[in-house]
């Protein structure tokens, strides 16, 4: 990256290409991956960039191996990542759960495709359940849901930093539309912007003879008795909660006088903002709220919105996966009306949202 992104550069490219560049900019050294649409081009661009920047790539036998080799590379002290989608995200739950338990800062890009099963290779927002609370665990992940190529670039860099700072696995949640469409973004060298990149550190293979110069690293994820696990789980949860207040992000507009708030995440939030603007131009008092971190979820921010306006329209390309997070965040908070536009695996336009709200009268 030393030469290629030294100065800010306006580019026009696919989201997958933006992710590959961002990983280079973030100082990632290794990618291990398995082909699945719509994330393939992340590997394609990485494998083209890799030799120029002294980076490594391994095409594994499946997503389990992609996840576990990535974990190995992280344990060795390298910033490493993978990318996947759909059934691949299902397989990734196993390595992710190990990363949660052992606090391994692996980074994973998920470009959502249709589900369940093989479904479509194109688009959905149906992997929210999996990226937030998949696996046999408690959801100790960081999940950024992006809505534009600029955000794919920005949050890929941020995901590496937050993963290594807090030692939790981090996921950049995009989708097939963001992966495949082209739009413009500004690429930059984060350090030129004063972003101090968190440096990786080896978990194993540090200098010195174990047992003499230093204690050996004995890393485990299995415990003998319930109380041992309880102590470990509670300590991880405390650190996760502590992190949450520092990394939670949400976006909101026009809440102050809003009589209806549109809630959406990811690429759908662009339709929500466009709809809001069109309705505002017609004199309708509509606001918008978008969680950027789906884990940890911006509960307090949403609760503050609800205190000001408690009529909601939730819009997502899934059958209520964002809605589940929304309802949990507003448990015991009075909500007057809650309406939904659920379109599993299908894109949602501003026009549809405008039409829906206008029909409410």
């Amino acid at each position: 990256m030393d030469k290629l992104i030294q100065e800010e550069k306006r580019v026009f490219m696919t989201g997958n290409e933006a992710v590959a560049w961002a990983a280079v900019a973030a100082g990632a050294e290794i990618m291990n991956g398995y082909p699945i649409t719509p994330q393939n081009e992340i590997m394609h661009y990485w494998t083209r960039l890799a030799p120029k920047f002294n980076k490594k790539f391994l095409q594994t036998e499946d997503e389990l191996s992609a996840g576990f080799t990535t974990i190995g590379s992280v344990l060795g002290g390298k910033k490493a990542f993978s990318a996947t989608a759909g059934p691949g995200t299902t397989l990734f739950q196993e390595p992710l759960s190990m990363a949660e338990m052992m606090r391994i800062p692996m980074v994973l890009v998920v470009q959502q495709r249709g589900g369940p099963s093989t479904a479509t290779v194109i688009y959905s927002q149906q992997e929210v359940n999996m990226v937030t609370f998949g696996g046999n665990g408690e959801g100790w992940r960081i999940v950024y849901s992006t809505s534009s190529h600029q955000e794919l670039y920005d949050y890929t860099i941020k995901a590496f930093d937050m993963a290594w700072k807090y030692r939790f696995p981090a996921i950049i949640l995009g989708d097939g539309y963001q992966a495949k469409m082209r739009e413009s973004l500004l690429m930059y060298n984060p350090e030129e912007r004063g972003i101090e990149l968190v440096q990786p550190e080896a978990f194993v293979g540090k200098p010195g003879l174990p047992g003499r110069d230093r204690p050996a690293s004995h890393l485990r994820n299995a415990f003998s008795v319930e109380e041992e696990l309880f102590d470990a789980a509670m300590s991880i949860q405390r650190e996760y909660d502590q992190m949450a207040s520092e990394i939670i992000e949400a976006d909101q507009q026009q809440i102050e006088d809003a009589q209806l708030v549109i809630v959406a995440h990811g690429v759908v939030s662009r339709a929500a903002v466009a709809a809001m603007n069109r309705l505002r131009a017609k004199g309708l008092k509509v606001g918008y709220f978008r969680p950027i971190t789906l884990r940890p979820f911006p509960e307090k921010q949403l609760q503050a919105v609800a205190a000001s306006c408690n009529n909601f329209l939730l819009v997502e390309s899934a059958l209520g996966q964002l809605a589940r997070l929304f309802k949990e965040a507003l448990f015991n908070v009075p909500v007057k009306t809650f309406q939904t536009i659920y379109k599993p695996g299908v894109g949602i336009t501003a026009e549809e949202i405008v039409e829906y709200i206008e029909a409410l009268g």
Partner: protein, 251 residues
């Protein structure tokens, strides 16, 4: 100074006595490995990966950096470490279930790619940790909790020939052997050659060890020994399948 008796220097005193059942083969395999670690002076650069199953009990066995992984996933974790840090020495330690059933895809592909790691498979013909179920290497007719009337090869296939499978797909530079805890001198020789093969960066190193599980076999010492020497030996041939010397002969 604590009396170390015959313990290898790389063993971690604080975790002894170890956690394996009385009569288990793991202790013997790990003693041989400990001696090899000492003799080749690799304690500082060795990363030991342990699978889930009885092998997980070795997570704090050595004064060696150790990573406990998931069932079947030790090979890819070691591959990831080795590729990130080629100067380190990576050994994946697992049982026959982890290697030949749930992790077989990883084993086969690590061998195909000639990954510069070493895999040790402790073969005791059953899933020990979970209570003695049938495993890929359970012998025909052998009774286990999930083959209570004896394994029927017509229904469940024949015992996996791990080293033979790996040898059939491995590339030049690979080392493949099968040893036994009934012959520790020979086992140590194989173990050393397998480690040296990785040290030399030649290729994938694979060692299966015929071992025992008297707890689940429900055997006494004599019966245990006989099962390994007679029953297991008739299916699993001890010896070296691929070595650097054999590579030369073939070239």
């Amino acid at each position: 100074m604590v009396e170390r008796l015959a313990m290898p220097k790389s063993w971690r005193l604080e975790s002894k006595p170890h956690k394996f059942c009385p009569g288990c083969g793991h202790g013997m395999v790990l003693k041989v490995l400990g001696e090899v670690i000492d003799e080749l002076a690799i304690q500082e650069k060795l990363i030991f990966g342990v699978d889930i199953g009885c092998s997980l009990l070795a997570w704090d066995f050595f004064d060696v950096d150790t990573v406990q992984t998931h069932h079947g996933r030790t090979n890819p974790v070691m591959v990831g470490i080795k590729r990130a840090r080629p100067e380190l020495l990576c050994i994946a330690y697992m049982g026959d279930g982890g290697a030949y059933a749930i992790g077989s895809q990883h084993l086969v592909n690590a061998a195909f790619r000639n990954e510069k790691i070493m895999a040790i498979v402790v073969n005791n013909c059953n899933y020990g940790m979970t209570g003695g179920q049938m495993s890929p290497t359970t012998l025909p007719g052998q009774k286990t909790e999930t083959s209570p009337y004896g394994r029927d090869p017509k229904e469940t296939g024949s015992p996996t020939q791990g080293p033979e499978m790996v040898a059939a797909i491995a590339s030049p530079g690979a080392y493949v052997a099968r040893g036994s805890v009934t012959n520790l001198k020979q086992l140590k020789r194989f173990m050393k050659k397998a480690v040296e093969n990785q040290l030399a960066g030649n290729g994938f190193s694979f060692l299966e060890v015929i071992s025992c599980c008297p707890t689940n076999w429900r055997t006494n010492a004599k019966q245990t020994w006989a099962f390994m020497e007679e029953e297991m030996a008739s299916y699993f041939r001890v010896g070296e399948l691929l070595t650097a010397e054999k590579d030369e002969e073939n070239s």
